[in-house]
């Protein structure tokens, strides 16, 4: 009998899918593994590869204790294949097959659609690691460096998870797609990652925090929808990935929060009350709040683009096929088939932003994006509480959904952060008020000096309230190899 709760480490790859008995897939994965290790080794600077990092490793899928912490060199991290425990007699939760027994094998008619979704999801996982590969060099603390690497190795594991599905269920095509995932690379001219946001640079740590808060949250929403899938192995994979993803959101939210905290503290200590007194604030070695707002504007809007067209045939097909659901599908009170429902979608009519009801099936992307907007607002509220508590008058805001968009109905109009449509000339003229300028970037970059001493933090970021794994403040999260 397979022990589905305790991961089997008897093969190279930790897993709870009975890999050691699935010779064919094991062989395929072992063939893929060296390419993956090469990809990893070429990615992150060598001294970090040789450093001991205090990382959590998924060892089980038991909700009470699924991970353990220890020092490990990243290339030796055990990227496993872990699926959340099977739900007995699970039914397909939505679409035309609603109520039928969930599929344990890929249904032939949906093979291509499923494969495409898995490939797109898989493509984002290594993409973000690639975007963040040089950040270790400017880590504001060992604590943050550890968090970065934690996020990185877990994104790597998520790639493994998707590759497992491709190898196990999609035959030769799947193996080819798995290889292509290692060929494409973020920002590459020859073979870029599939989605735009994963080809943007992550040049500094504030970008990293914004990325993990906003862009990884898109990943969370996608995983939540795929966790509803009628294809049970995909559902189980995504459910487990979500437990890890929560930490990434945490890194983002606290990272931005600590950046704001450092700014507030420095302003108060120096008697600055005007948040727009940018020059003086920057002289204190912290990032002014208006610039943080601009970074927020950028990353939020890039992330909104990831939801695709508001009205989408592909999303409708995937929902109806029972391949991809909605956020919290089970909690939604409707027939989960949507053949006669409508959903309000924004559109541009005669230069005005309007809302019109469209068939709900085709508005799946729009709905997920609405859920995302609500979800993303939570952390912004908590950041604003920090600011309010400091007595400084400033409020961070999520810009209007139409602002700075490349995809969807808003891509054809110029909209300011408050939602006013304007001429594109006017917009271009004013964009420096809303989006980080090169000078803003240069300033942030000037603060990006490494701080490798245990328990110490760069000027622009406050220490965390509690350590990882409840470790004390001066814990050495990374034992740097400085050869």
């Amino acid at each position: 009998m397979l022990d589905l709760i305790n991961v089997s480490y008897d093969t190279q790859i930790p897993n709870n899918v009975g890999l050691s008995e699935d010779k064919k897939v094991l062989k395929a994965l072992e063939k893929w593994h060296p390419g993956y290790i090469n990809w990893w080794n070429d990615l992150i600077p060598q001294n970090f590869q040789d450093s001991m990092v205090y990382l959590r490793t998924a060892v089980s899928v038991d909700p009470k204790g699924w991970a353990k912490f220890d020092y490990v060199k990243m290339p030796e991290y055990r990227w496993g294949v872990l699926l959340a425990p099977a739900v007995e007699d699970r039914k397909i939760p939505m679409g035309e097959h609603k109520g039928e027994t969930a599929w344990q094998e890929v249904p032939g008619e949906y093979r291509n659609m499923l494969k495409r979704l898995i490939v797109i999801q898989g493509d984002t996982e290594p993409g973000s690691v690639e975007q963040q590969k040089f950040l270790g060099l400017t880590a504001p603390s060992l604590y943050d460096m550890r968090n970065l690497f934690q996020v990185n190795v877990e994104e790597g594991r998520h790639l493994w998870a998707m590759v497992y599905l491709l190898q196990k269920y999609f035959g030769r095509d799947g193996r080819e797609e798995a290889n292509e995932l290692l060929v494409r690379s973020s920002g590459s001219e020859d073979a870029p990652r599939m989605l735009g946001a994963f080809n943007e640079e992550t040049p500094d740590w504030l970008s990293f925090f914004m990325f993990t808060y906003f862009t990884d949250r898109d990943g969370k929403m996608q995983l939540e929808s795929l966790a509803q899938s009628g294809f049970d192995p995909l559902s189980r994979t995504c459910r487990f990935m979500l437990t890890e993803e929560a930490h990434h959101m945490f890194v983002g939210e606290t990272g931005v929060g600590r950046t704001i905290q450092a700014t507030l503290e420095a302003m108060n200590a120096n008697g600055i009350t005007d948040p727009y007194d940018v020059g003086k604030i920057r002289d204190l070695g912290v990032i002014d709040l208006p610039t943080i707002q601009k970074k927020l504007n950028l990353h939020y809007t890039l992330s909104l683009d990831l939801f695709g067209q508001e009205v989408s045939t592909n999303a409708a097909n995937a929902f109806n096929a029972g391949i991809k659901g909605r956020y919290m599908e089970q909690r939604i009170d409707d027939d989960h088939q949507l053949q006669n429902d409508t959903y309000p979608v924004t559109s541009i009519v005669d230069g005005q932003i309007k809302t019109e009801d469209v068939p709900a099936l085709t508005a799946i992307n729009m709905r997920l994006r609405d859920d995302y907007v609500r979800d993303a607002a939570g952390g912004v509220g908590r950041w604003n509480k920090l600011i309010a508590k400091s007595g400084i008058e400033f409020e961070l805001k999520l810009p209007h959904e139409g602002f700075h968009r490349q995809i969807g109905v808003f891509s054809t109009v110029a909209v300011d952060p408050d939602g006013a449509i304007m001429s594109s000339e006017e917009w271009m003229k004013r964009q420096d008020e809303w989006l980080p300028t090169k000078a803003d970037g240069d300033f942030i970059q000037s603060l990006m000096v490494p701080c490798y001493e245990a328990g110490k933090y760069a000027s622009w970021i406050a220490p965390p309230k509690v350590g990882i794994d409840n470790k004390p403040g001066d814990f050495e999260y990374v034992k740097l190899h400085m050869a």
Partner: protein
């Protein structure tokens, strides 16, 4: 759809295509204006196209030949990021009446053929640079080019997803060109046409779906280089300057469309139209220099352009006129002389272009799904290219001997050298070879009568007309024919005529049109595609098509 579809356009009106001229190379960019659809109800997203986009493309190809003879290589490419072309717009197809779909497909096929043949006919080689998704009609657009280059960015692919996605066929030459032109092995073609996402990178080359792939970073450069090489290797003679295709003189009224040499009268009560062509009213230009100077006003070119537009107008805007009657008026000797200038100078670029254009116009007549009849009255000028209309028609009637009270010159028809090879049909036979498919020796015999103004008796003896009637029978016989024709089922007519017109050998062209009419039009009628629950109708709703699984 009461709006008139106009096939005339010019570069100042283009909304979907841009051209950059670089000596012998022209870069042709597809940049479809989303909001520029011919009709309401759909956006032309992702470089998808409708008839309006194709009308512009046809104009581009035509003007490339006449106005830019210096161009030797045309590089078709997309001006949009990440997408080459997503094919025919599905919402447009889903919403269009069957007749419009068929006419749309037919016209797009004719346009594909026209640039595909531009290399052989005019020395202009269309090649294709594919970056981003190239699917369905998008790949068909590419397939009609003669050299396909694909970027290898691990995402860009070529695909024919019609069957899995829409339950219809890649019928704008897609299936046929994959096997007949690209010569893709049939089992691989079967795989290719069944997978939605298509084939990318090196495999696309291995399977023969494209000619070359390049790494993305080298792609643009490689395309420029390839275009230059091909232009340098071209044996097309250098021509300094083209002629302007000036706007057609055309008036559309309730009952007629009137051009300078062509008059279309619309008889809606009796469901038929008459196209009357006026022969030249002056002598032929003395030489090609004189012809070039007159340019688009020269009768041979003007008449071809007007006839072409008239046919397209009738096809798309007058769908209930099931019978087209061809008549001519004028001096047959002048028609012969005007054609002769071009035949005698067929190595002159413009002479060649005009003759090739006549060939295409006559092919357009051949594949027009209307009953065609040629009425050879006294005073007519069925000679040379106009005589071809007699043999393109399903039947012909000729006035025999003098008619009471009719003082026009006696009806004659005149064959020229042009009738023996200049204007072949899609099956590569001349219309005379097709007509006498069972007696090829008759075609040889006919050559003895070249240049002779044959009267009705002579023409009838040689089998060149269906019937020759005299004064006594004429009116009744012609009337009876027309009334009878108007009473038949238009569907049966279309099928019968298409079968009888194209005798003998198959070519890629006949296969494309034949397969289109036979299969695509059948599928376009079937509930599995266009029924309320059919795949084409449901496309975009998220709900799959429901198929009746019975094989027919």
């Amino acid at each position: 759809m009461t709006k008139v579809i106009d096939f005339q356009t010019d570069p100042s009106k283009y909304r979907h295509w841009k051209i950059e001229y670089d000596g012998p190379v022209a870069n042709l960019f597809m940049d479809v204006d989303e909001k520029g659809g011919l009709f309401e109800g759909y956006d032309l997203k992702l470089n998808s196209y409708d008839l309006g986009v194709d009308i512009e493309l046809a104009d581009v190809v035509q003007r490339m030949r006449f106005e830019h003879p210096e161009v030797k290589v045309v590089v078709m490419q997309s001006a949009k990021d990440k997408v080459f072309c997503a094919g025919a717009n599905i919402r447009m197809l889903g919403g269009a009446a069957h007749g419009h779909k068929v006419n749309f497909c037919k016209f797009t096929n004719e346009t594909r053929n026209s640039y595909e043949a531009a290399l052989a006919e005019s020395g202009q080689n269309y090649i294709c640079a594919i970056k981003g998704a190239c699917a369905g009609g998008g790949y068909e657009l590419a397939l009609a080019c003669n050299h396909l280059m694909l970027t290898d960015d691990s995402t860009s692919s070529v695909a024919l997803p019609e069957v899995p996605l829409l339950a219809v066929l890649p019928g704008t030459g897609g299936l046929t060109r994959v096997t007949d032109k690209r010569k893709v092995r049939r089992d691989l073609a079967d795989v290719f046409c069944s997978v939605e996402e298509g084939v990318r990178g090196k495999r696309a080359v291995e399977w023969g779906l494209v000619d070359e792939v390049f790494p993305n970073s080298k792609f643009d450069e490689a395309v420029v280089e390839r275009a230059r090489e091909m232009a340098a290797a071209s044996d097309k003679a250098d021509v300094e300057k083209g002629i302007d295709l000036t706007p057609l003189e055309r008036r559309i009224s309730e009952g007629a469309v009137t051009y300078s040499t062509v008059e279309v009268s619309l008889n809606r009560d009796e469901n038929r139209a008459r196209i009357t062509i006026d022969g030249p009213d002056a002598d032929a230009p003395a030489d090609m220099a004189a012809f070039t100077k007159v340019g688009a006003d020269a009768w041979m070119l003007r008449c071809a352009r007007e006839l072409d537009d008239a046919i397209l107008h009738l096809r798309n805007n007058e769908k209930e006129l099931g019978l087209i009657e061809f008549q001519t008026r004028g001096d047959p000797a002048r028609v012969v002389a005007h054609e002769a200038l071009l035949l005698d100078n067929s190595d002159h670029w413009l002479a060649n272009e005009v003759l090739q254009y006549w060939k295409r116009v006559l092919k357009r007549v051949d594949v027009t799904s209307r009953s065609l009849v040629a009425i050879v009255e006294h005073g007519s000028c069925f000679a040379g290219p106009l005589a071809e209309l007699l043999w393109a028609a399903d039947r012909s009637y000729m006035m025999l001997e003098e008619f009471d009270g009719d003082n026009r010159p006696l009806a004659t028809l005149t064959m020229t050298d042009g009738n023996f090879g200049t204007y072949p049909m899609g099956n590569d036979l001349t219309r005379l070879e097709a007509r006498f498919y069972g007696t090829p020796e008759q075609v040889q015999t006919l050559k003895d009568s070249i240049g002779e103004a044959l009267d009705a008796e002579g023409a009838d003896d040689l089998g060149l007309v269906t019937y020759a009637y005299d004064d006594i029978d004429w009116e009744d016989e012609v009337r009876l024919f027309m009334e009878e024709r108007a009473s038949f089922s238009p569907d049966a007519m279309t099928g019968m005529e298409a079968n009888l017109r194209f005798v003998g050998p198959e070519t890629m062209e006949t296969r494309i049109f034949g397969r289109l009419t036979a299969w695509q039009n059948w599928i376009f009628q079937r509930p599995n595609a266009v029924g309320e629950d059919g795949a084409l109708q449901r496309y975009g709703s998220g709900v799959r098509g429901k198929y009746n699984m019975e094989r027919v």
